[in-house]
Each structure stands twice: as structure tokens, then as C-alpha cells.
């Protein structure tokens, strides 16, 4: 069975600083990989996804993520964070076939300092 580890429960970053959120997955084959963001009281919004091809994927709101097969990682990055980026970020993995459910990490809570 697949699993996702987000080692950082909380991260505090100053506004304007760069950001990297870590995600490691465990899966026997090439996975589908996703990053979702959840603002307080809101649902899950897709930031970006990796299915195949270029291992550096661009998403919405200036986010990008890089799939590194050798490290089983899919870290999320943003060069300059904004106060509105404060939210919970979830990494998720899915299998490549069938209507399979996604497996989510426990999330990283991002706090933006002024």
C-alpha cells in the first residue's frame, strides 16, 4: 500500500521569503502525485500535479514541485510567499489505474510572519 510522509507539521516563513514543503512517498510503481491546499474552513484546492513527463511541474499561485524518483520525493516550492499563502498543505499520492482513492499525508501548516 502507498503512504505519504510530510515530515514538517508546522513551518513558519517570513513574508517574501522562499518556501519548501517536503513530501516523501512510498509506492511500488510510478505514482500520480498531487499537492492540495486547504484554507481554514475551506475545501481542498489543487495546486499542482505530476502524472508523467517533465519532473518539474508548475502550479497555480506561483507554486512548483519537483518529482525526484531516486528520493521518492515531491517537494513543493515557492520563491516568495505572500500572507495569503498561510494554509494547510497536503501532499497526496494516487495509483495509475482505476478509480483509486488518494492517500494523503498529514499536512503541513504554513504560518506567514509579517
Amino acid at each position: 500500500a502507498q503512504s505519504v510522509t510530510q515530515p514538517d507539521i508546522h513551518i513558519t516563513v517570513s513574508e517574501g521569503a522562499s518556501l519548501e514543503l517536503r513530501c516523501n512517498y512510498s509506492y511500488g510503481a510510478t505514482p500520480y502525485l498531487f499537492w492540495y491546499v486547504q484554507s481554514p474552513g475551506q475545501g481542498l484546492q489543487l495546486l499542482l500535479k505530476y502524472f508523467s513527463g517533465d519532473t518539474l511541474v508548475q502550479g497555480i499561485k506561483g507554486f512548483e514541485a519537483e518529482f525526484k524518483r531516486s528520493q521518492s520525493s515531491f517537494n513543493l516550492r515557492k520563491p516568495s510567499v505572500h500572507w495569503s499563502d498561510a494554509a494547510e498543505y497536503f501532499c497526496a499520492v494516487g495509483r495509475r489505474r482505476g478509480a483509486d482513492g488518494l492517500t494523503f499525508g498529514k499536512g503541513t501548516h504554513l504560518i506567514i510572519q509579517p
Binding site: 498531487f34 489505474r97 482513492g101
Partner: protein
């Protein structure tokens, strides 16, 4: 932009009562899902639904749960006899089909888009 909608946004019920959570998936999507998120914990998969039948379910999705697509637009999750531990945020998601899978296995789902959730509180 089309989106998944869910009703109600908040449901309060007494232990042992039945609840039905409703979802309207994105109109051209063919795959439907339910997830739950207990407060402070990660999002957990419950069930997926395709072609009018359950495609996959987790061990959480026991006999007290059922899903239905009663018409062409709604997708529901029923909890037959609620327990205190069913208190959670329940998310519906949907995805469209990408096309034929390799090896002729039929279509495969694309990205899952989530609704805003229904917060279920069991007293």
C-alpha cells in the same frame, strides 16, 4: 469554473440517527469519491464510485456506510447509524475520465476535484 458542491455545510445529529450527505459533482465527471477528515488528522479515503457501482472502498467504509447516485447530478453518502467517532469533515470529489488505459482496461480517472466539505457533528 465548474466546481463540486456539497450540502449541507454543517450537519448535527444524535448518535444512532441516519444522515445523508449530498454532493453535486462536476457535470462531465464520471468518477466520484468520498473522503473524511477527522479534526486535526489527515484526509482519509472512504469510497470511489464509477459506472453506478463502487469501484474501491477502504476499511473505514463498513456496512453502516452506503453511496448512491440517485439521479444524473447527485451523489450521496449515507451513514445508517451514526457513532460519535463519525464526527468529521466529509469531502466529496469527482474526476473525469482520461481515456483508455494501457492494455485495454477502460478509462482511467483524471485529477480529483474536491468540494468544500460537510462538517458532521454527532452528539
Amino acid at each position: 469554473e465548474p466546481e463540486v458542491t456539497q450540502t449541507p455545510s454543517h450537519q448535527v445529529t444524535q448518535m444512532g440517527q441516519e444522515v445523508i450527505l449530498r454532493c453535486v459533482p462536476i457535470s462531465n465527471h464520471l468518477y466520484f469519491y468520498w473522503y473524511r477528515q477527522i479534526l486535526g488528522q489527515k484526509v482519509e479515503f472512504l469510497v470511489s464510485f464509477y459506472n453506478n457501482e463502487i469501484s474501491e472502498k477502504s476499511e473505514i467504509f463498513d456496512d453502516q456506510f452506503s453511496v448512491e447516485r440517485p439521479d444524473g447530478s447527485n451523489f450521496t453518502l449515507k451513514i445508517r447509524s451514526t457513532k460519535l467517532e463519525d464526527s468529521a469533515m466529509y469531502f466529496c470529489a469527482s474526476s473525469e475520465a482520461l481515456g483508455s488505459a494501457a492494455g485495454g482496461g477502460g478509462s482511467v480517472p483524471d485529477t480529483q476535484y474536491f468540494g468544500p466539505g460537510t462538517r458532521l457533528t454527532v452528539l
